[in-house]
């Protein structure tokens, strides 16, 4: 079996009296796409925030390639290899498309202040490499970011392309694990389909992906494994079809009577 990239060990997070995430454990293995599903408020985004360091778990541990990352700051976790996108887009709207991706490389570049002040040959070389790599990443979305648009501001992009740019920025960190928070939210069916294919392409290129998604077509079409959550707890895990038919999952979405009618 493939190597475990992310190992979440019974993490818990409470906000006041609310257990947002309760004793949650799961693993993500190298080269797979795992989807996290569940009704609104079931703790999916909180789980993401716990993994990426925005919140610190009250108890439990998060391991990235056998190293504990719980309690580290988002910037440090990013440098260790976890990149993410956001449910509500968080691009640097007024910066250029290319600069957005280049910011994603900040943690990977090493030029210091003096280098940057003097534009030393070392800094120029690194900058040229970064720009080349950034263009390469933008090229992963064929036709979406032509070179003529690289210097335009991110806010000039259509909604769907902004979502793609966020993925591109996350890829700039060369992540061992990519977290996508509702990558197709607000997209039309054709756009969702394209993004779904691109997510699969990314997996085929060797990226490991954990995503939150509501779109059943995308979940069924892209994920290798699905984890269902409700009230902060894992209620089911397995192949997409299995989880979709799991009575506990149907109940979580539709309620008790709905589950009875369905069976």
């Amino acid at each position: 079996m493939a190597e475990v990239v992310l190992d979440v060990r019974s993490i818990t997070k409470t906000f006041g009296g609310l257990k947002a995430v309760n004793d949650l454990s799961f693993v993500v293995r190298e080269g797979e796409i795992v989807s996290l599903i569940g009704p609104n408020g079931s703790g999916k985004t909180t789980t993401f925030n716990l993994i990426t360091g925005l919140y610190e778990p009250d108890s439990g541990d998060v391991l990235l390639k056998d190293e504990s990352i719980a309690g580290l700051k988002p910037g440090q976790i990013y440098e260790r290899g976890i990149s993410r996108t956001f449910q509500m887009l968080r691009l640097f709207s007024n910066m250029s498309i290319l600069d957005n991706v280049l910011v994603g490389m900040h943690g990977r570049t090493r030029a210091n202040v003096i280098d940057c002040m003097l534009h030393t040959p070392r800094m120029r070389r690194e900058e040229a490499e970064s720009v080349a790599r950034a263009k390469e990443i933008l090229g992963l979305f064929p036709g979406r970011f032509p070179a003529s648009r690289h210097s335009q501001p991110a806010l000039s992009l259509s909604y769907a392309n902004r979502r793609r740019l966020e993925i591109a920025r996350a890829l700039a960190g060369e992540p061992a694990l990519l977290l996508l928070d509702e990558p197709v939210a607000g997209m039309n069916p054709a756009e969702s389909l394209e993004v779904m294919r691109q997510i699969r392409d990314l997996r085929d290129m060797g990226y490991t992906i954990l995503m939150i998604e509501h779109d059943m077509n995308v979940i069924m079409g892209a994920s290798d494994r699905v984890i269902a959550m409700d009230h902060g707890e894992k209620i089911a895990e397995g192949a997409p079809q299995e989880v979709a038919n799991d009575p506990a999952v149907v109940e979580a979405y539709l309620g008790k009577r709905g589950a009875d009618t369905a069976s």
Binding site: L54, F92, D99, G107, V113, C116, H119, P153
Partner: protein, 380 residues
Amino acid sequence: MAGTFRRVADVFGRIPRWVYIVAALVLAIVFPMLEQAGLMQTLWLRLGTRTLVYVLLAVGLNLVLGETGLLHLGYVAFFAVGAYSTAILSSPRLGIHWNFWVIIVIATVLAMLFGFVIGMPTLRLRGDYLAIVTLAFGEITRMTFNNWESVTNGPGGIPGIFPPNLFGWVVDKPAEFFYLLLASVVLVVWLLNNLKKSRVGRAWNALREDEIASHHSGVRPTQVKMLAVVLSSGIAGLAGAIFAYYQQFINPTYFLFMQSTIVVCMVVLGGMGSIPGAIVGAVVLDATPEIIRQAFTQWLPDALGSDFLPGVQTALQTDFDRYRMLIFGLVIVLMVIFRPEGLLPDQLWRREVHDEDPRDQEHTRQHLFDFEEGEKDLEV
């Protein structure tokens, strides 16, 4: 009217950037020569020298306020640290007379250190809280200099600062100080412009745009903010050192809170995050009140007879500082109404202030194109 303004601006926008830079440099180099040739009163040269000090300050504060988006209201404190280091280390006050280069380095580094120390507790705060706390630190600094009589001579100030000696060239005329400052401005602007076009500059902008997203992209907010604060403090320290040499006398009243406000106004007027903007903002805000004063006390009375508006004339002669603030306020209010992005805005800020700038038509077209693209996809 706005349309005409845009068309004119577009014509000037087409002239390459280096033309402006060369023109500004030539103008600055010729400026003191006018005085030496007797074509201009020394008053204007003195004003020009003071303006260059403000240019340094505005360019430095722009790093923090414009690029990184932190409202720092105690900037004058670092200016004071630079000025007092110089005054103490090069005056009869304690009988110390160190070399110019050593003092410049000490003044800059001390100001940076001071920036670091103040930054440690304050950079955890955001927005208005940061503004208030930095304001307070600015005042604490001034009061310290005001009360530390054994070293700073308190409100009496430190007189008789020795003129700087640069490898045998003794700088003591206004024109010489003008060139010394000009050289500093060129050096600082060059370094900062390079920084702006590097990973550091991008990190500052990203932080200003969205702190959470930048943190999740590997930018460490505290580190990056601290870097901006420390560098800008250093620039203020350098400006303070040269200012002290130039004035030959400093006391705490040079470092009032008002000075911090003036520099903030210069950055805002010029266009936040724009280096040329900060320079233009400093020149306009420092020169305009003086020109108005000269107009009402000299030029207009000369032209129209001395009984021209007698009240205004005496008021401006005796109470100018108060009216200076009035003019400042007026300029800022007019600008916020008619040109909120500043005189020479950075591309980034222009977009942030006007969400729908007609000049961004190209982007809008591109937007439509994207939309159509999506529609086409649907048909597939």
